[in-house]
Amino acid sequence: MKREYRLRYIIRDGIQDMFYIWKEEWKNVFRDEGVMIFFFLVPLVYPVLYSFIYNNEVVHEAKMVVVDDSQTAYSREFIRRVDASADVKVVHVYPDMTAAKEAMDSKEAYGILWIPSDFSKDLHQGRQTTVSLYSDMSALLFYKAFLLTATEVSLDMGAEIAASRAPASTDQAELIQIHPIPSEAITMFNTQNGFASFLVPAILVLVLQQTLLLGIGMLGGTARESNRFNSLVPISKHFNGTLRIVMGKSLTYLVLYVLVCLWVLVIVPRLFSLPQVGQPADVVLFMLPYLLAAIFFAMTMSGFMQTREAPMMVFVFTSLILLFISGISWPKEAIPEFWRWLGYIFPSTAGIQGFVRINTTGATLNEVAPEYRILWVQAGGYFITACLVYRYQIIRCRKLIVQRYWALKKMRHNIKI
């Protein structure tokens, strides 16, 4: 048996080649500024930028105008309390609706509170009275601020008025009359209902997959552009097996992205004090299949990229779709069946769901078991497809070499004659 056919030597060569390819790919990454942008600059800057944009978490002092038709002590007290709240600021009190509408048209305010003329009379006579709130719907968070504040003030003031109107024998009895069943709302995990705490963790996880897609796609496109046969695989004795190529390359990306993850998932959340209650071990164990799945997915997709720019044209706009399909902003129960199934193709869907639950709600691997399983299945599946892509490329490349060889030989033959 010839030496090179013995399994022992095949494995030894394979591992040596794998590290050779690893080193080569490492050089490729650092030689290419386009790839560097997506592997380093974007993961470095984007999370910071997004956190900065949403950093204020909630809306404070949303601007509102009031039309006070009542002009009484009660109505003024109501306005004062609305203004005193953290979320709403009363910028002006107008005597009539036209002026208030104009203020809203010229964006001096985003909501109108209208207090009717018999506001005070109704309250004195023990009748229910209605305050109207008009809100501009250009920003849902303004509307939310107006509604919550107005409701809060109306309940508080209402309770006080009702108590003073019907003095019961004791304070306790008073309370029982007004609030036979009190209730409390508790916000869990993202306690201040913050926008950054809600959206940024999902974006962080998505950025990992998308930059891998773009970077690896770009490397694939470059390899093809610079290859004589327009193939992904260079003509070299080291690139002589599917496994060593796929494993060598993916090792490069994995090592790089462990560092990137450290920045994106550990340091950035800390810098902007985003929620981070997950067990580190769970996060690490969960991110491993996510990274592997994303890497092999990207390597598979890179097989279809003919030029180095194609990935940017094809993948960037999908980020938005993937963010919505992940079920963080639009609840997954409300996603139509077809899209939900389509979402399982992408590692980001399970990755975002699982990471957010571990990171923000303190779930353990037990609670994210379905997502964890999906990611491992994807990692395995995309490993196989990545191998197929490279296998196909190697065979195609060899065929082309052989064809070329015969063509040259024929040419030489012809010349001789």
Partner: protein
Amino acid sequence: MTCREAIGHINTVVRREMHRMVSTPLYFFCILVAPLISMTFFLSLMREGLPKDLPIAVVDLDNTETSRNLVRQLDAFEQTSVYIRTGSFSEAREAMQRGEVYGIFYIPEDFTVEATSGKQPKLSYYTNSTYLIAASLLFRDMKTISVLANASVGLQTGTAKGLTNDQIMGQLQPIVIDTHVIGNPWLNYSVYLNNTLLPGILQLLIFSVTVFSIGTEIKQGTSREWIQKGGNSLTVGLIGKLLPYTLLFTLVAWTLMATLYGYNAFPLNSGWGPMLAASFLLVIASQATGVFMIGVLPTLRLGLSFACLFGMIAFSIVGFSFPVLAMDPTLQALSTLFPLRHYFLIYVDQALNGRDLIYSWGEYIWLLGFLFLPFLIGRQLKKALLYFKYIP
């Protein structure tokens, strides 16, 4: 160059560009397929307007006819669906961590007995704000049911005392807030998000296509020939090159308008004119911005990266999800550099609120202002086109 000559040159460049366009499938994908996928995705995703039947867990420690009745009423709400009933809170919390429920409704022990005997049992409801939309919808439903429970007990005791309904309500809740949401009365999320998301995707694609169409000329070394065909004038060359894309993207943008305001009947209080104009201006303003991008970074991959990153940031900084006014002042200033921001402001004034044009003309001017961007970078771009050597 006379006007007639210029038109002749533009004609030549347009023909040349059409040939290039049809021979590159990537254009077909970015101009037609990608917008179509996005439109289908987002409009079908949110076709219900509001997510329905969001799962909650009920922890009912009382478990009487009254408490079960309360839960049944809660379940009957459109947005809420009781997914599990359990006797243990930690079980409910785990379901929340598993992502199976977004809220927990907690009914304490002896709720019924205490409520009727005036001991004030307390209802608690928990929402998982990691999922902001689901949490705020469930908050609304669970709050309503709690207030209703309060009122119904109040009504019972009040009627027993011989008070009229009006008197009781005046006592239970003296002041009520009546909300009127202008333009989008059903709080439809599809209206709220898609009116800006989809034009935003269009803007992103226009950036990329514009940068790509100019950048490939440098990459393939055909830029000299292009400029020559344009009579050695960059302006003529650019107009000829971009015109086919202007037409196609305007067509796509107007198809989007027709889908949003015609087929889906989203609020259009201004009539068609202002929105068709705004979407056309968005197209050309984005093209101009694209020219500026490749002018600043005249290497295809860098210019394209710039286009992609800028285009993606637009979705956050435009302020349709998180208002610009709540952002840092630097970001507020920065937001004006995005054509989409001005388009969004026009949309709010015109389609959503139907305000007078006087309130939005400034934004139309802003969009037109983007057309000056290519002039700022013209000299550098021309140099790059004529002398720049592509380094792979």
